[in-house]
Symmetry: C2
Subunit: 314 residues, 2 copies
């Protein structure tokens, strides 16, 4: 797979698209001192300002633009950011969307999906059952299936985040810290930068899909829980992410929930960025010293999602 | 007064300052379609991400850097963004800070000021009485007084917002929509752009200091109330702002509170920007058609403050 070509193709699809759905999000370049970090600059890629409130919009939209969409529309199993992104992308393109969620999916999330025009099917007590029903339904309707992280177009869409960072800054950062759930984002970013930037994987201690896969020598199912399980709670690293990170990601770190929560609160209190816990792992790694940049390093944090209840930030 | 020189000097003070206190905030350039506006581009200057949560930090910090600060420190009368910005600026420079507020100042705001290390003096039932006590105290201590909007260093500091916009974009926007309370921000912005950009003044119908001054032919006290009175609630346009806007601001518009509130909610819901009502006037003007850009226009909105209780955004 030629990822650079696939990522360029995704960026061109977004640029040609007349709906303005995928946004070029701001890159905020600050001196390290502004964040109390002893390095040259910290770059914050404000991808939580993306349509649908997370980077997931890029992958989902790229998949939708890359394929003819049948009259039955698109279909996905997800009660999280991937479901929201698929529903928002489908709305932008005026196509139907069915979202399968398990009964544990909160009424608030279900109503958010309905607000976006999706048909929500609540079935099964756990995600795996909702997925099974979704795949069954897809066979009947022929709808275009989107996967939260393990499809090439989804990874290439996420890779446009890295391309934008490099184009905006005029160069690659020395390092990029990326939160990992199923691994779609880090796969896209590492596939773009390859060895030109040190890509570091960050996971909550309580959701260590990549960390455990590396220990094990191959992807393995893990138990997931904790503060970021909502968005980083994939049970197993994706096959594409596994392959790309084995090649291009030298380092995978675990962070405790308390550090993630403190970083999320600091992003609101000191920087007025309203983000979800998954988006705070990069700052948590810098503040705890889990990742220590060199004094002359430019380190980039991907602020990947904003799907937070603002009442919890006060 | 040579404003361009004063604004350049402020920007150089910020750049030389080793504390990283004043941030170069992101400029988010979006196609008009992304906001549902029929113009070429809408530029959002994300100044609500500034230290202290508003543009006020620039003016206060410039005043502090431009003068020797006595041992008694700095002093200000304000329970709003100007007080918070002065306290934050003083903390960054490790100097004392006294803030005078009237008894109507909420306990939450008082404790925010104290968190920033300021000594809070609660006196008088209205702002004018707190100001009088502040001026009396200043005579005793010789502390450096900051004013929320009507000092040249404060206006020049605010002007660096415009300089940054132009430097980042590589050109001036065709138009800039700016919220007006006492007028410090619009004075700085209009002083920088002069006739190179169409600067439009926006005020809530319930806080029309500049609008009424223009009707009257001179600054005049007005009654202020409504959703944005917290930050745009000056009772009279500043003398500096009056002079600069008479020369460089062709248009002043009033907006109803309902439109301001709807725009504030849209900035959160659709763009994940957590802003105070004062920061939403620009989008309100575009959405209501109060300001109608040309199809090929690049219009810039200054998102000026984030001092919002996030619980009210949910």
């Amino acid at each position: 797979m030629n990822w650079a070509t696939a990522i360029d193709a995704a960026a061109q699809r977004f640029a040609r698209d007349g709906h303005g759905f995928i946004r070029r999000t701001p890159l905020w370049q600050l001196p390290g001192a502004a964040l109390g970090i002893d390095c040259r600059e910290v770059w914050l890629k404000l991808e939580h300002l993306q349509s649908s409130g997370s980077f997931k919009a890029r992958g989902m939209y790229n998949r939708l633009l890359a394929h003819p969409i049948p009259f039955s529309g698109v279909i996905v199993a997800s009660g999280g950011n991937a479901g929201i992104a698929t529903a928002a992308a489908a709305r932008a393109l005026h196509v139907r969307c069915e979202v399968f969620v398990p009964t544990v999916c909160s009424p608030a999330k279900q109503s958010k999906l309905r607000e976006l025009g999706a048909k929500v099917v609540v079935t099964g007590s756990v995600y795996a059952e909702a997925l099974e029903a979704c795949l069954q339904r897809q066979k009947e309707t022929g709808a275009l299936l989107t996967h939260a992280y393990d499809q090439p177009e989804v990874v290439a869409g996420a890779g446009t985040v890295a391309q934008e960072i490099e184009h905006r800054a005029g160069r690659a950062p020395d390092s990029v810290l990326v939160s990992v759930g199923g691994g779609g984002l880090i796969a896209g970013i590492a596939a773009w930068f390859e060895q030109r930037s040190r890509v570091v994987a960050l996971e909550p201690e309580l959701a260590p899909t990549l960390y455990r896969a590396r220990e094990n020598g191959a992807p393995v199912d893990v138990d997931v829980s904790g503060i970021a399980a909502d968005s980083l709670g994939a049970k197993r690293i994706g096959a594409i992410a596994w392959e790309v990170t084995q090649q291009h990601v030298p380092q995978a770190l675990l962070l405790p929930d308390a550090a993630i929560l403190a970083a999320q609160q600091a992003l609101w209190k000191d920087f007025k960025l309203a983000v979800e816990p998954a988006a705070a792992l990069g700052l948590a790694a810098l503040r705890t010293g889990a990742y220590q940049p060199a004094k002359d390093e430019n380190v980039c944090l991907v602020i990947c999602g904003a799907n937070v209840d603002p009442a919890t930030l006060a």
